[in-house]
């Protein structure tokens, strides 16, 4: 009985850690946009869906499977989704988002309204166009790894062994690698500095010769591309359809708010927390209430730590 419970707990925890890493990557992508531009992007989930389909077509139709095989192929395809989504994000910001945000934003309140409804409109267009282009059938990127697992144990005598799905494990490692790369880019490079400056104080950044609108465009494109990679990694484990974005956009926002703005790594831990809460809640709650548990934890943290785990207090009177 006890051993069984410990095993279930550990199993759920490892499942939470692996899926949480991918959620974390999604959240980092969103946080880049939200943190630098202060724009609530409702279409983030739909861009992630584009990342999933990009990975799918790279793998199945554009020869990645043929060149890299079924084991390595899906991950190569997921990474390739990044640059594609970067271009998509760059164009969307240049043609649409940039017109109502950044230095061209309206007075405080009204500007937010315009950004909101704009991203809602974009979300609708992307979803529906996705339906036309990709059809409504559930698809997934197939890899033999998703049906095999590493076994940890037997531990504690012979009583406990934990299985980690290989495909999810690799996806989790790749997520972490992507975040490390991104953190280095933001932390070390000149580009990163200009992004942080634009996020911190757009006006002062402008005076220092930083093109804030350009910084926003890069942040938006980079955020979309990171979330797109997360989508590509998720595609190897979960079947998807053009409307899948809606399910994840809420998880992303919960993760970002949990992690707090102002750091790259914060939202990752936020997404990780969401993954853990989601998986661990299955131990005590019926599966249908999994997402309710996420929202309750989300609300609790928002109330008691409105700046999130890693956020800074930036509000002034």
């Amino acid at each position: 009985m006890t051993a069984q419970m410990v095993e279930n707990f550990l199993q759920a925890m490892f499942a939470g850690l692996t899926v949480g890493s991918i959620y974390g990557l999604m959240c980092v992508g969103l946080a880049l946009i939200f943190g630098v531009m202060r724009v609530i992007n409702f279409a983030q989930g739909d861009f992630m869906m584009l990342g999933m389909y990009a990975a799918y077509y790279f793998f199945a139709a554009l020869g990645v499977q043929a060149v890299f095989g079924s084991i390595l192929g899906p991950y190569v395809a997921a990474v390739l989704a990044g640059p594609v989504l970067f271009c998509v994000g760059y164009l969307v910001h240049k043609t649409l988002i940039g017109r109502v945000s950044g230095t061209r934003a309206q007075v405080e309140g009204e500007g937010h309204f315009a950004q909101l409804i704009l991203t809602l409109g974009i979300s609708l267009v992307v979803q529906s166009a996705g339906l036309i282009a990709f059809g409504s059938i559930l698809v997934s990127v197939r890899t033999p790894l998703s049906s095999s697992a590493w076994e940890l144990g037997p531990l504690w005598g012979d009583l406990i062994s934990i299985f980690i799905n290989k495909s999810r494990g690799i996806a989790a490692l790749l997520s972490v690698a992507t975040i490390v790369a991104l953190a280095m880019l933001i932390g070390r490079s000149r580009l990163g500095k200009s992004l942080r400056a634009a996020a911190d104080n757009p006006e002062a950044a402008t005076y220092m010769g930083i093109d804030v609108d350009h910084a926003h465009r890069i942040a938006f494109a980079l955020g979309i591309s990171v979330t797109g990679i997360a989508g590509g990694l998720l595609a190897t484990n979960y079947p998807f359809h053009p409307y899948v974005g809606l399910e994840y956009v809420i998880i992303m926002y919960a993760g970002v708010v949990l992690g707090g703005l102002g750091s790259i790594i914060g939202p990752f831990w936020g997404g990780m927390t969401i993954g853990l809460v989601q998986q661990l809640s299955t131990l005590v709650l019926p599966t249908q209430l999994q997402n309710t548990a996420i929202f309750v934890v989300f609300l609790l943290i928002v109330f008691f730590m409105p700046q999130g785990f890693f956020g800074r207090v930036v509000e002034r009177t």
């Binding site: 109502v100 609708l124 926002y253």
Partner: protein, 596 residues
């Protein structure tokens, strides 16, 4: 009632709509006619909270869904009629609003919006888990009237029209009362609203309660019309998004916005779906989405405002200037008022007695001791100047005095009562008004309306508030500007308007934060004259400045701050001669020159 009079255009619209609805025989289009009104009503409920306060709610589906399930489950389990259940749904929606608002209003901006997102989604899964995946309202063929189940669908359209009329009337009443003014003030500048004596939390709670009640009723009616309720169709994110979309498309913060938005968007979406949906599934979403995107790029505040601005440019006389009130600019000038029977200021305080005492006030930000152990008294009817170089802690002292900041230690005694820990609006109520160094006008309201907001703290009725506002405006000599938008004013006019806004609350002590900053010599002289006049009328004044010239001729006493502590206190003569003051301002090496 002014709310009723301004509704003439709405009744014309409603009559026209009813005629069209009665002419439609196709049941599909009949349903569409009803749904346009349902979503317009839902948009209006969202507008009451988010349109007027600027706090975006992504969670209005929570109230809508509670309403819908109230009718469905109430009819199934208790056999109650929708005629009764819709009001019950409104009450439950209002309670939900209050319960959600109370904790959630601690959050601001995007955090508020995102937290609101969580409520309907959490409820969605709870209702799924409870087994209410698809609840069908029981058919009552024998008593259709009692259970609101009409064979002729046009009756629903008429009912929806009646419901919309009630909601429009409610919204109009809110808009034109102190409730609406408070919400508008909160939207434009919450801090300034607090300082002007508005209990922002209270009004926000009223707004979310009313908004939740309306949304609950609309959701309840929706369930009656469609007869089937599923968690996704009433709690889903698209429901919340619908409220946002119709309102933002039509125009935020106006009764017309949601009505226009729903009347255009709902039929467009439905017709696209019916005509194109089976040919290319998804094409209607693309067109609909593109329409929204293009409209927002062209008219970021929604159609109503775009059209209004266009009309205003072409035919200015057609459109009345923004603002709910127009104050008669000449209502009792300073001279006529002097002879009035009612004294303007309740009691002229005895000079000499301390009205405000500050004892050992301290505040640190992290390691920075912004204010340390500051003590001083302000005698009633006098002018106290707080001076000091930049960064001396002057504005922090003010923020502590009017409750924006809570001190780490010390006491603030207003008439002997300790005011530490009180919120700004409570201090304003207790008689301490203030202005801001960086001006905080409600930019999109007229000067008169800006000042009316400040008057509510003392005035019990709207006419009284308008009277107080008109008095205050003429006292500062802004009578000719009463109808101008605050956003169009010059620095001098804004300073005067802020002064009038503070005066409208009939303060006994007025805190002026660098009121002379950014003014030319003559303008500063004008203001000094006005301030001196106020002091003669019996208002105690505390004024911050970092320049001393003008102050020397204005104030009775000085408190000199340096590095957060009181350097010196005394009359202008002693202070200007003190070497420590000269040193603090100019540095050590100038002390000798200055004294020679």
């Amino acid at each position: 009632m002014p709310a009723l009079r301004s509704l003439a255009p709405f009744f014309v619209f409603a009559a026209g709509y009813a005629v069209i609805a009665l002419a439609v025989t196709n049941s599909y289009y009949q349903l569409m006619m009803t749904l346009v009104l349902v979503w317009a009503s839902f948009g209006l409920s969202w507008n009451v909270l988010s349109g007027y306060t600027g706090l975006v709610s992504f969670g209005h589906a929570a109230f809508f869904g509670i309403g819908a399930y109230t009718t469905a489950l109430g009819q199934i389990h208790f056999d109650l009629s929708p005629w009764l259940l819709i009001p019950i749904a409104a009450v439950l929606g209002g309670i939900a609003g209050l319960l959600i608002g109370f904790p959630t209003f601690r959050l601001r901006g995007v955090y508020f919006a995102l937290a609101m997102l969580a409520y309907p989604l959490a409820l969605l899964y709870v209702f799924e888990w409870l087994g209410y995946q698809e609840v069908t309202l029981p058919m009552k063929r024998e008593t259709p009237l009692a259970y609101m189940q009409f064979a002729d669908h046009r009756v629903y359209t008429l009912l929806a029209l009646a419901m919309l009329a009630v909601i429009v009337l409610l919204t109009r009443m809110v808009e034109q009362s102190r409730f609406g003014m408070a919400l508008l003030a909160i939207k434009q500048n919450e801090a300034a609203a607090e300082a002007a004596g508005i209990d922002t939390l209270k009004w926000k709670l009223y707004a979310i309660t009313l908004s939740g009640a309306i949304a609950g009723a609309v959701g309840a009616f929706y369930a009656v019309v469609l007869l089937v309720v599923t968690p996704v169709s009433v709690f889903g994110m698209l429901v919340s998004a619908q409220a946002l979309t119709v309102t933002l498309f039509g125009g935020v913060g106006t009764v017309w916005g949601p009505v226009i938005g729903a009347a255009i968007l709902i039929p467009t979406a439905e017709i696209l779906h019916a005509e194109l949906g089976h040919i290319i599934p998804g094409i209607q979403g693309v067109i609909f989405g593109l329409a929204i995107v293009i409209l927002i790029l062209v008219a970021p505040e929604g159609m109503f405002w775009k059209v209004r601005d266009f009309l205003y440019r072409r035919w200015p006389s057609l459109v009345t200037p923004a603002g709910a009130f127009t104050v008669a600019a000449d209502a009792g000038g300073p001279c006529t008022r002097a002879g009035a029977a009612m004294p303007l200021w309740p009691t002229r305080p005895e000079t000499g007695e301390a009205i405000l005492s500050v004892r050992g006030l301290s505040k640190s930000f992290g390691g920075l001791k912004a204010v340390q152990g500051v003590s001083f008294d302000v005698a009633a009817g006098t002018i106290l100047g707080i001076i000091g170089p930049n960064g001396a802690g002057k504005t922090t002292v003010f923020n502590l005095l009017n409750g924006f900041l809570a001190p780490d230690a010390g006491q603030i005694l207003l008439d002997g009562r300790n005011m530490v820990g009180r919120r700004p609006h409570e201090l304003c109520e207790a008689g301490a008004g203030r202005t801001f160094q960086i001006m905080r006008p409600f930019a999109r309201m007229s000067v008169a309306d800006n000042v009316v907001v400040g008057a509510y703290v003392r005035a019990r009725t709207d006419p009284e508030a308008r009277q107080h506002a008109a008095d205050a405006i003429s006292r500062v000599g802004l009578g000719d500007y009463a109808d101008r938008l605050a956003g169009e004013l010059t620095t001098r006019e804004l300073r005067l308007m802020e002064l009038a806004r503070a005066l409208a609350g009939r303060p006994r002590i007025l805190l002026l934060d660098e009121t002379l900053a950014g003014l030319g010599h003559n303008e500063a002289e004008e203001l000094i004259g006005i301030i001196r006049k106020l002091a003669q009328d019996g208002i105690t004044i505390v004024i911050i400045e970092h320049t001393m010239q003008a102050m020397v001729r204005l104030v009775d006493r000085f408190v000199v701050l340096d590095h957060g502590a009181v350097l010196l206190e005394g009359t202008p003569e002693t202070v200007t001669r003190d070497p420590r003051v000269i040193e603090a301002y100019l540095g050590k090496k100038w002390t000798a020159y200055a004294q020679s």
